[in-house]
């Protein structure tokens, strides 16, 4: 018996979400009175996971798995889950994890709940709280199968240290040709930029910024804060910014610690996509803009005038506090 988690890594290093998933798995294991096993694929140092309550790490080192491959990764994780007698298999809500988790659920005949936002409400019946209706509501879902698959909303449970002595062992899954019928031909990734998914802070612009030529103002603020840049749907629809920056209900979801909205009025669809962010700041000329109803801090005024001054003050603040 155990709780198994998939600890995602990138270039051999664990992603931050892996540590949150490990923390979550530890909480589930404590509730069930069992142990935590992490599965890693081509990651280097397993010991880091011990800090977050992982008892055992199954390490897969396999050149065929250098590029992400959903079917093959799912095969690795389900075989590890079987070996460990997993009662619960925990994933993050990254695009890769959301790609793999349903395949694992089918292989293990497991019921699955995604967007889980808190430790299980109860373990018998097994019940979790998850977000639904694009962050406009929560639902409590019971999972009735022997094995349960969960994917955890980013930044919802948090990272909790829980030092444990951890053992690592090599794990050699049986992979077949069918696992590799989908091949990665190329990866295009903007280097040196913080991605919206990984960012602790996101700075987002709307039509209130008046044109793509003003975006350097937003970018300066983002650089100062080490933030990712994002935009509202109208801005991506009119082509001021690429679609990859569109956040909202039909764009990318944001669950950052701080979300700063510049010149965004806050249509219900936009709010739905960013509402999982912990702290929201809005700067908008219209004091009646709906964003002020959901924001924590607000400034009524022209972002084009205010943001350069804010950036300058933040630079001074950073210089004093570093």
């Amino acid at each position: 018996m155990s709780v198994v988690l998939y600890a995602e890594s990138s270039d051999g290093k664990f992603k931050k979400v892996a540590l949150e998933v490990a923390s979550y798995a530890k909480a589930v294991a404590d509730a069930l009175g069992t142990q935590v096993t992490a599965v890693t694929i081509n990651a280097s140092d397993a010991s880091e996971l011990g800090k977050y309550g992982v008892n055992k790490v199954l390490q897969v080192q396999n050149d065929a798995l250098q590029a992400f491959n959903a079917k093959a990764y799912a095969d690795v994780i389900q075989q590890a889950a079987r070996q460990e007698g997993a009662q619960v298999v925990v994933f993050s809500s990254s695009t890769d994890s959301l790609y793999v988790a349903p395949l694992v659920a089918v292989a293990l005949e497991a019921g699955m709940a995604s967007n889980v936002v808190a430790a299980p409400v109860s373990t018998a019946p097994f019940q979790v709280k998850r977000s639904a209706f694009s962050q406009k509501a929560f639902n409590y879902t019971t999972i009735n199968t022997a094995v349960k698959v969960l994917s955890i909303s980013k930044n919802s449970f948090g990272i909790h240290e829980n030092a444990t002595s951890v053992t690592a062992e090599a794990f050699a899954p049986q992979l077949n040709e069918g696992d590799f019928a989908t091949k990665v031909a190329a990866v295009e990734k903007a280097s040196g930029q913080v991605s919206i998914a990984d960012a602790d802070i996101v700075v987002s612009g709307g039509r209130g910024l008046k044109g793509p030529e003003n975006w350097h103002i937003l970018e300066d603020l983002a650089t100062t804060l080490g933030a990712a840049t994002a935009c509202s749907k109208p801005v991506s629809d009119i082509g001021w910014r690429p679609h990859s920056e569109h956040v909202g209900q039909t764009g990318k979801p944001v669950a950052s610690n701080l979300y700063i909205a510049l010149g965004i009025s806050g249509a219900i669809q936009h709010i739905a996509g960013i509402n999982a962010s912990k702290v929201k700041v809005v700067i908008n000329t219209d004091s009646e803009a709906p964003f002020f109803k959901v924001a924590d801090y607000g400034i009524v005024g022209d972002a084009l005038e205010i943001v350069p001054r804010l950036t300058q003050k933040l630079k001074e603040f950073k210089a004093q506090n570093s």
Partner: protein, 248 residues
């Protein structure tokens, strides 16, 4: 090429979300239903394959009779025929099982779903279908072309995109990008008229217990009021973010 487009019938994105019966059911009162936006992008791509490559496009939905209006809208947009699996969907696995059965019986080469529905946001149906069928699978798909039996796709990854080469039969979890927003189609009068006479068949669900059950809903706690900061006092904003919110 035979394409199956899986359509979810969801509340319009501007809907107020409320619950009834002791917060155990979604309040449908006054709610307008639409084709799930992620599915609509996929449907539009399927119509492109129909027009450019002679594909045949079937739309399918798992739902009660009240969801047929949504299927008719998909027919008006250009799908050739429609199937309704006559069951109220309670669980992602159940839906995937129904859709996989339809896909298998119809011998479809390409199955396009949205990557998630905007009501339950489960995001699991396309992957579960692919798992049940043993087909190739691309999730969060933002580009898709097919030549013969070979498919080329792009998927969104954290911070970029990945280009994927694969083959039919294929399940795709689509999203915005698979077609652009501006290429979405509003049904015209001719489409609406012909949709009325296009075949819509009803099939009964295949068995299987629900693996999960949504037992109760809850609305987020009301937010405390926004703290307003003067544009002439940006130091205060920095102070609040640093000392109160502790996010910088």
């Amino acid at each position: 090429m035979k394409i199956l487009v899986c359509i979810s019938h969801v509340p319009d994105t501007t809907s107020k979300i409320n619950f009834v019966n002791g917060d155990t059911e979604f309040d449908t009162n006054g709610v307008q239903y639409v084709i799930n936006p992620n599915d609509e992008f996929g449907l539009t791509r399927a119509i492109w394959f129909q027009e450019q490559q002679g594909a045949k496009v079937t739309v399918v939905n798992v739902g009660g009779p009240d969801t047929e209006a949504t299927l008719r809208k998909a027919l008006a947009i250009g799908a050739d025929d429609a199937i309704r699996v006559n069951a109220v969907p309670m669980d992602g696995f159940f839906v995937a099982q129904q859709l996989a059965e339809v896909a298998k019986n119809g011998g479809y080469d390409l199955i396009i779903c949205g990557k998630e529905s905007l009501d339950y946001n489960g995001g699991m149906v396309p992957g579960m279908m692919a798992g049940l069928l043993g087909y190739n699978f691309v999730n969060a798909c933002t580009e898709l072309t097919v030549e013969g039996t070979q498919a080329k796709a792009a998927r969104e990854i954290d911070g970029g995109k990945e280009v994927i080469a694969t083959a039919l039969p294929l399940v795709v979890g689509g999203q915005k990008g698979i077609v652009e927003e501006k290429d979405l189609r509003i049904p015209n009068m001719r489409g609406i008229m012909t949709a009325r006479t296009k075949p819509l068949s009803v099939v009964e669900p295949v068995g299987g217990d629900d693996k999960t059950k949504a037992v109760k809903f809850e609305k987020p706690a009301p937010k405390s009021a926004v703290k307003m900061v003067s544009p002439d006092n940006l130091d205060e904003l920095i102070n609040l973010l640093h000392n109160e919110a502790k996010v910088i």
